[in-house]
């Protein structure tokens, strides 16, 4: 199989890579670009651990081909917040102890950020349904939902 040359943008930086035609975006990110923040929990779009956004749209990167992202702008967890300047979502997840093993956390961060961009004031129910595709086996979701709602409140400028 001859490789495909793809030019795209990842976390704001121009990126070029070669990938096999059947290689997923998740494999490209992890194996070719060394961005291992997105995880493969299932490979079939059922767990959300590989969540990224493409042109702002939340997707499961295991269900996207690397070849498809030519000319797109991709954001992964590595593009959200830094140690010195965490995104409020990341900070609230930490403050609420909303992670135990942490394998689902990158996907939760990416998915919740996409939620708050679209709906800055989600209800608990809206948040739960939005994140239904992000499986977490450790927490029972309680603290994750609280963290997202309190991050939303802070982002709206309310007293968190």
């Amino acid at each position: 199989m001859s490789k495909i040359h793809v030019t795209t943008q990842v976390n704001g930086d121009a990126v070029e890579f070669l990938c096999a035609p059947d290689e997923t975006l998740l494999d490209v990110l992890r194996d070719r670009l060394n961005l291992t923040g997105a995880k493969e929990g299932c490979g079939t779009g059922d767990c959300g651990a590989c969540s990224v956004t493409i042109d702002g749209r939340l997707v499961a990167s295991c269900l996207v081909l690397g070849a498809e992202v030519e000319g797109s702008a991709i954001e992964t967890v590595e593009g959200i917040g830094t140690a010195d300047a965490l995104h409020p979502l990341q900070r609230h997840l930490l403050e609420h102890a909303a992670l135990q093993c942490g394998i689902c956390t990158p996907g939760i961060v990416v998915a919740a950020k996409a939620l708050l961009l679209q709906n800055p004031d989600p209800s608990e129910e809206e948040t739960r349904y939005w994140l239904a595709g992000n499986l977490c086996r450790c927490t029972g979701y309680d603290k994750i939902i609280r963290a997202v709602l309190s991050a939303a409140s802070e982002l709206r400028g309310e007293n968190a």
Partner: protein, 737 residues
Amino acid sequence: MKQDFKILGTRPIRPDGLDKVTGKAMFGADKSVTGMLHARILRSPHAHAEIVSINTAKAEALAGVKAVITGDDFADVENSATRYTMQNCMAQGRALYDGHAVAAVAAVSKAVAAEALKLIEVEYKTLPHVTDVDEAMLPGAPVLHEGVKARTLGDDVSGNTVGYYSFGHGDLETGFSEADEVIERTFKTAAVHQGYIEPHACLADLGGDGRGELWCSTQGHYMVREVCSEILHIDASQLRVTASEIGGGFGGKTTVFIEPVALKLSQKAGKPVKLVMSRDEVFRASGPTMSSSIDIKIGMTKAGKITGAHAKLRYQGGAFPYEMVMMGAMSAFAAYDLEHVQAEGWDVMTNRPKMISYRAPGAPMAVYAVESVVDELCQKLGLDPIDTRLLNAAREGTKSSYGPTFKAIGLVEALEAAKAHPHYSAPLAPNTGRGISCGFWFNFGGQVSVSMAINADGTVSLIEGNPDIGGSRASISMMAAEALGIEFDRVRTIVGDTASVGFSDVTDGSRVTFAVGIATIKAANAAIKEMCKRAAKIWDIDAEAVEWVDGAAQPTGHNAGDFPPMSLAEIAATSGKTGGPIAGHHEGAPDKAGVSFGVHMVDVEVDPETGFTSIKRYTAFQDVGKAIHPAYVEGQIQGGAAQGIGWALNEEYIYGEDGRLQNPGFLDYRIPVASDLPMIEAVIIEVPNPGHPFGVRGCGETSIVPPLAAVANGVAHAIGVRMFALPMSPPKILKVL
């Protein structure tokens, strides 16, 4: 034993949290090295088959394939438990379940490895199979392994019955004769999987000289080292195992499934090999927990006193001998103070993946059955379920159903908290029922090693040997800081590899905060002793005349007040001149882990037209001894409750007539999603464990024990019919409506 703490009981940000919210944390599949190969495993499509032949020639000939192995590549080992583990990793002679590994390939890319698998030709001769526990126990059932039947059993059960246990005291006949009401029921529960989101993954590099490096996602890298070095016939000292960040385990990563395979491939290919399971492989070939078939008989007086209790537990644990039903038999009646009680258990093999621990292994299904019958008795006799449990509750001094006499325990406190909670008196909507259940887990101690260095800048580096599965680096740092009298952020705890700190048992049994905590306190005390000695030298007084108060050495006795206190940082700063580096370490095997009881309360609503059950409100009460980091203790309680809810309602291993697993994916193996659950209120009860200096009890496992019966009892009250099998999926509920 009420103590005042500065740091314990606070909620600092966990030290590994930053890496986890930014995607930096390295899990099992996240590590790569140059020149590494990618491995894949070929698995049996049959529930039970003789492997007549395996032809790997075509696969080996494929460009890019560097090694192919089968069961023949593994030499025998002496220890039978290790042999079973090895044969579970790679079949020898027979494939014993759908998904059993029969060959493996290492190649230059994932794609080539996948292609090579298709070129391996395996000739199978299918054999009769059995996947149901009751069928597997019948004489005449296909027997998985000959000669391993429990030695006390007779001809009335098949050779698959590898274990028999019995616990209890008193006389059952007397007990039941004193009852006003006796209920006897049979239950079935499906096998469920731990469902960790991170599939098993490792990166192995083993040279021909027997020196190796292994990176893997595990609950115990020393266990991995011991098992792998035995299987590979190399010295333990030559295999360094590093535990990656672990993406969930819940008991499922307390053994090896792929590591010996990756090491063998690496040895054969002479290159590093990365091996990552797919989700399908996780379900088909890594251990779920047991399925069960259970008989319960309980007698009760009109006043609610339990007079006699008998449990018969038949557990199905997959394709190899195992011991686990005893944990269920010991847990079944632990919550009750009983005069006449017996719990018996049988461990049974079937053509399914070998079971492995899942959070409080063996207890949830046993307690589900017992608590269902207790609830039914309360219903029948018109008794309050909490009052009845209080009347019979085990407490300090109770001779437990499994033998030991309980020290201080917190069951009564948890029941009283449940009774007083507004949830218990809240009104119920139509089609809604409220369920209550107790739960119990032993908690363990076991071997630990901790090494603590006092750095010249006044900070502390702590190395311990237990993978951090739910925030233990935070709790350990907190205990170190508390013991040393310094700030939390002055301590950094890391999980050392097998070459950097002494042996540590697997992270299981809710033991880490307890056992590593004790070792940490003892290591801190050793360092404190040395720091007091240094201060004494500096002050030129007797070492005995120095004590450690609030993070500083200070003169005591007749020297009291002679010198101002000297802080840890000050002592550390001059350590190079006062005798060299200061450190403390402790290696030991702490015992006296205190048992933990929980009480869960749930309101469920059942749609009478579809049988759909929704969880409307959930409150969990648990005695944790002392909550070091209350937020993570709550998290353990909430997480266990959610897993138990899944077990009760929708999770199950579904096998067809052909013995093949029909739902090896998250689409049809249905773990709870965020929209399935309400907030789960965790109420922490603290009855200190007398066996721990800070009163700590393990807290991670008890929480999965009560939800099964709590939900089942809630459903029974909501629909007015009792179900006797899990999961209570909608088709099953609708059928009885």
